[in-house]
Subunit: 499 residues, 2 copies
C-alpha cells in the first residue's frame, strides 16, 4: 500500500491538528523562553513526524559508542590534539584562547576523571532514486553544549500522542527518544564517580553553565528536574558572570557554590562554545577557575577542542583514524564519513585545493569556526577562494556534498503553518566518562536521538536561517515518502540556538 506523505487531511483537520500541537506543547513544556519572565512560546516543530530509514537510524544508534570511544582515544592523546590545532590557532583567536586555558589548567588539575555529552549529526545521503541506496553521513561531531536532548524526548512524545489521539493521519511507528533520561543518567554517573574521589560532608551539586540570554531554557531545566526527581541530585543553572561572584576554590581545590555552601561535583557546560560567550577577560578567568578545579568537567576544554572541524577532517583519513581505533572499528565508522580535505600546504591540502578549483560542484567549503550561514557551496567556491589571500585558505575545510532525498513536511512555528521541502538531520547522543591517567573507560553510552528538520530556502544550497524545527522519526510500516533525489548541503545548526 502506498500512502502519501505528508498527509493532506483538509484545511479544517489541519487547523485542528495545529491547535492540538500547540496546546500539547504548552501543556508539556515544549517551549522556548518568551520576551519576558513567565512567557513561553511553543517550540517550532513539524506537523507530521518525518519518515526516516530504519537502517539509517539503527546504524546511527549502533555506531555511537564507537564514536564515543574514538573521541576518548583521541582526547587521551592531548599532545596530538593540541599539535593538530596549532595551525587553526594561528588565525583563530578563540582556538588560541582555549588552548591557553588547557595549558594553564594542566599543572593545577587534581581531577583525573573527565566527562562528555556528545552528539553526532548526520544527513541522509542518497546515491540513486532507490530507497535502498540511502545511507547516513556525518555532518559534524559535537563535544560541547549539545542541545535538544531534553526536548527531543518531549517532541517524540508529542508525535506519539498525535498518532494515538487520531489527530495526525499518518501511518507508521513513532518511538520516543530516551535522550532526556539518558543525559540525566550520564550526568548522575559523573556525579557518583566524583563522590568516590571526595569526602564532602554534604552532598555536592551539579553546576549548569548557561548563557545569560538563553531562550532554550526548558531543554536544560528538564535535565535539572530529571536529576532531582530520579537521581536526587541538585542542579543549579548559572552564568559565567554569576560563577565569578558565587563560586570559589577551597583549600582542597574543590569548587564551592557559595549560596548553598555546597561543593560542585560536575561542571556541565551549556555555554562557552562560542567567542560570544566570552565578552571580557572575566569569562576566560572563570573558565580557567572551573577547568583547574577538582570538579569533573563535562566537557573539559580539551574535549571541546577535539570537536573542531580540523579534528573531524583528520579522522576521515584512513591512516589517521587507525592511530586511534583498530581496523575493524575504523571500517564501521568510515561507513558514515564523507571525504574531507584541508586547504593548507600539506599533501592532502594540495589535493583539496585542486578539487575545490577543478570540481567545485560536488563540494561545500566550511570555515573552521562554528556558527551557521558561513558555508560556501559549489560554483560559489572558486570566486570565493580567488577573492582571498592564499594563506587564508587554510582556515577552511572542503567537504563532499551530501545528497539528501527530497521530502516535504509542514512546520508549526510562531502560530503559523509553513509548508515546503525539508532536510532532516539526525543527531545521536552519547555520554562518556573516563580516567585520563589510566585511560580506563567508565561510561560509554548511546543516549537517544534528535531529528531536526529545516525548510529549504529558495537557494537550493542553503537552509533558511531561523526555519529549523524539532521533529520525530516516523518509522515506515507502509509509509512511502516521495524521494526524487536533489543536491542538498551539510547544513548548519538551528539558527540562534546552541549546537
Amino acid at each position: 500500500m502506498l500512502v502519501r506523505f505528508p498527509p493532506s487531511p483538509g484545511e479544517w483537520q489541519e487547523k485542528h491538528l495545529k491547535a492540538g500541537i500547540e496546546d500539547w506543547e504548552l501543556a508539556h513544556g515544549v517551549v522556548l523562553q518568551g520576551e519576558r519572565p513567565g512567557i513561553a512560546k511553543a517550540l517550532p516543530v513539524t506537523m507530521y513526524p518525518s519518515p526516516f530509514s530504519r537502517s539509517g537510524l539503527s546504524l546511527g544508534l549502533e555506531i555511537q559508542t564507537l564514536y564515543n570511544a574514538l573521541y576518548h582515544s583521541v582526547i587521551n592523546d592531548s599532545n596530538w590534539v593540541i599539535e593538530q590545532l596549532r595551525g587553526t590557532a594561528k588565525y583563530d583567536q578563540f582556538t588560541r584562547n582555549l588552548i591557553e586555558i588547557f595549558e594553564k589548567s594542566l599543572p593545577k588539575r587534581t581531577q583525573k576523571l573527565t566527562g562528555g555529552i556528545f552528539r553526532s549529526d548526520y544527513l541522509v545521503h542518497e546515491l540513486s532514486a532507490s530507497k535502498e541506496s540511502r545511507q547516513i553521513k556525518q555532518v559534524e561531531f559535537n563535544t560541547v553544549s549539545v542541545s535538544f536532548g531534553g526536548l527531543s524526548t518531549k517532541v517524540t512524545e508529542l508525535h506519539r500522542f498525535l498518532c494515538e489521539n487520531g489527530l495526525n493521519y499518518v501511518h507508521g511507528d513513532v518511538n520516543v527518544s530516551p535522550s532526556l533520561q539518558e543525559i540525566a543518567s550520564g550526568l548522575a554517573a559523573m556525579h557518583n564517580a566524583y563522590l568516590k574521589t571526595s569526602n564532602d560532608s554534604q552532598p555536592p551539586l551539579i553546576l549548569f553553565v548557561v548563557q545569560p540570554d538563553e531562550t532554550n531554557v526548558i531543554d536544560q531545566k528538564l535535565i535539572e528536574y530529571e536529576l532531582l526527581e530520579k537521581h536526587e541530585i541538585l542542579g543549579r543553572r548559572v552564568t559565567f558572570e554569576q560563577i565569578s561572584r558565587q563560586v570559589v576554590l577551597d583549600e582542597h581545590n574543590r569548587l564551592v557554590y557559595l549560596p548553598r555552601g555546597q561543593v560542585v561535583s560536575v561542571v556541565y557546560y551549556r555555554a562557552g562554545y562560542s567567542p560570544a560567550d566570552y565578552p571580557s577577560e572575566m569569562e576566560w578567568e572563570t573558565r580557567l577557575l572551573l577547568e583547574s578545579s577538582h570538579a569533573i568537567q563535562c566537557p573539559s576544554v580539551l574535549t571541546q577542542l577535539a570537536g573542531s572541524k580540523k579534528i573531524q577532517e583528520l579522522l576521515t583519513h584512513p591512516d589517521i583514524i587507525r592511530q586511534f581505533v583498530d581496523n575493524e572499528k575504523a571500517e564501521q565508522l568510515e561507513k558514515t564519513f564523507v571525504k574531507m580535505w584541508p586547504l593548507d600546504d600539506s599533501e592532502l591540502g594540495l589535493e583539496g585545493q585542486l578539487l575545490a578549483i577543478s570540481e567545485p560542484e560536488g563540494f561545500v567549503l566550511k570555515p573552521q569556526r562554528e556558527g551557521g550561514g558561513n558555508n560556501v557551496y559549489r560554483e560559489k567556491i572558486v570566486p570565493f577562494l580567488k577573492n582571498m589571500p592564499k594563506h587564508e585558505w587554510s582556515a577552511y575545510t572542503l567537504m563532499e556534498l551530501i545528497q539528501t532525498p527530497k521530502v516535504s513536511n509542514k512546520i508549526v512555528r510562531d502560530g503559523e503553518l509553513i509548508s515546503g521541502n525539508v532536510v532532516n538531520e539526525l543527531g545521536v547522543f552519547g555520554t562518556v566518562l573516563w580516567d585520563l591517567e589510566s585511560g580506563e573507560e567508565l561510561m560509554n553510552t548511546q543516549a537517544g536521538w534528535l531529528l531536526r528538520t529545516k525548510l529549504q530556502s529558495s537557494d537550493e544550497g542553503g537552509v533558511a536561517a531561523g526555519y529549523g524545527c524539532i521533529d520525530a522519526i516516523l518509522l515506515p510500516e507502509n509509509t512511502h515518502a516521495s524521494h526524487e533525489p536533489s543536491r542538498r548541503t551539510t547544513s548548519d545548526s538551528l539558527a540562534n540556538l546552541e549546537i
Copy 2:
C-alpha cells in the same frame, strides 16, 4: 520552634526563587493561554505554599461525599428544585432559560444516568486569636464547570518541588492534590457506565464543551490527556458553535461527533454556566440538543440549577436540609454553614430584611447571579437596599460574614512579585454519578482539592479583581503563621476565569 511565615530569605534568594517558579511552570504546563496561538504565560501562583489548618483540610475532604450525597438527593427531587427557583426565575432571564431547557428536554430524554463534577468552596473562619478556634465555612457549592482541578495537581507538585529543591525556605509538608487524576477517573467512570447503556460499534468519545475565548485551556487539556493516557478515552474540546455544526442526534437519540463519526458518551461542560456563554438562540438550541440526547450530562441543566445560591441558602435551614439527609449527616454538614437568609416576603425573608437593616456590619449581600465584584459589604448594605425598589430585594441573599485569619504571602504574577495580606479559599472536588430513575448512587468520590489565594485590596471588604492565584497547602510541622483576626468576606472566584 517558631518559624516566621512567609520567609524573608533576602532579595537575591527571592529573585532566584521567582525565576525557579516561572521556569518550573513553563516546563510543566502551569500556564494560561497567551495573546496568540502558541504563546503561554505562567499561571499566577503564590511564592510560598500557604499554612492551612490540618483539621480544616481534613474536615473539607471528609465531608465532600456528604455534600455530594446531599446534592444528589436534592437534584433527584426535581420538582422541589424547580419550585424553589420560580422566584429567582421571575426576575432572572438566565434561570428562566435554564428551567425551560430542563422542561423541554425532559420528555425526550432516554439517558437515566446523570453525572457531576462538583467543588465546595470554603474560607477559614476564626472566632478568636486562638488557632484552635479556626473552622472552615462554606462560601458556595459549585455544580457546573468547576475549574483548576488539573492545575491544582501541578501547582501542589510545584510547591513540593520547591521544598525538595531547597529553593523556598519553608518548613512543613506539601501534599499533592490528586484532583487531576480523580476528575479524569470520574469522567472515565461516567464513560464506562454509558458503555453499558449502548451498543456502539466503535468506542465513543467525551465532548468537552468550552468557551471560544478560554484562557484556562491547559487546565482542561490536562484532563483530556489524562483520559487518553490512563483510560484510553478520547476527548474533544468544542464550543457550542462548533457543536451546532459538527454534532447531530442519530435515530437512536445518540449524539454523534461528525468529524470522527463517533458517538459521544459524556458531555462535560466547561462552558454554559454564564449568560455570556449564550449570545444567541443557537447556543440555547445546542444546549437543548445535548441535554435531550442519550449522552450522560456532566452536569445536567437540573444539576446546574441546583448549584444556585437560592438552593444553598435553603439548605442552611435545619428543617429543609433534613428533608434530604438524615439528622446525623445534617449535623455534620451544618458545621460548615454560616447563616443565610432570603430578602423576600417569606417569614425567613422578613427576618433577613430586619438583620440587613439593623445589624449590617456582620453581613454580606450577594446577588443570585454568579460573577465577581457585585457583593455588598457591611455598612454599604443599608444605603444599597434603600436605593432599590423593595420588590427587587428578593434578588439578593444575605450571608453572615466569614472572619478570615490574617496571613501574608507573595504572589508571582505576569513576571512581577507582589506582597501583601491574602485570603485563602479552599475548594474540595467531588465526582458523582447516579441513576435518576432508581436513585441508585453509582459514584460518590472526594476528588482532591484546590487552594486559591487572593490579595486583599485596600478596601477591607473586597478582593481586587485579577489578583487571585493558585496556591498549595503547607501543613504545619513547626510553622506558625501570624494570625491576628480581621474581618474578611466571602469572596468571589478568580476574576475572568471559570467558577
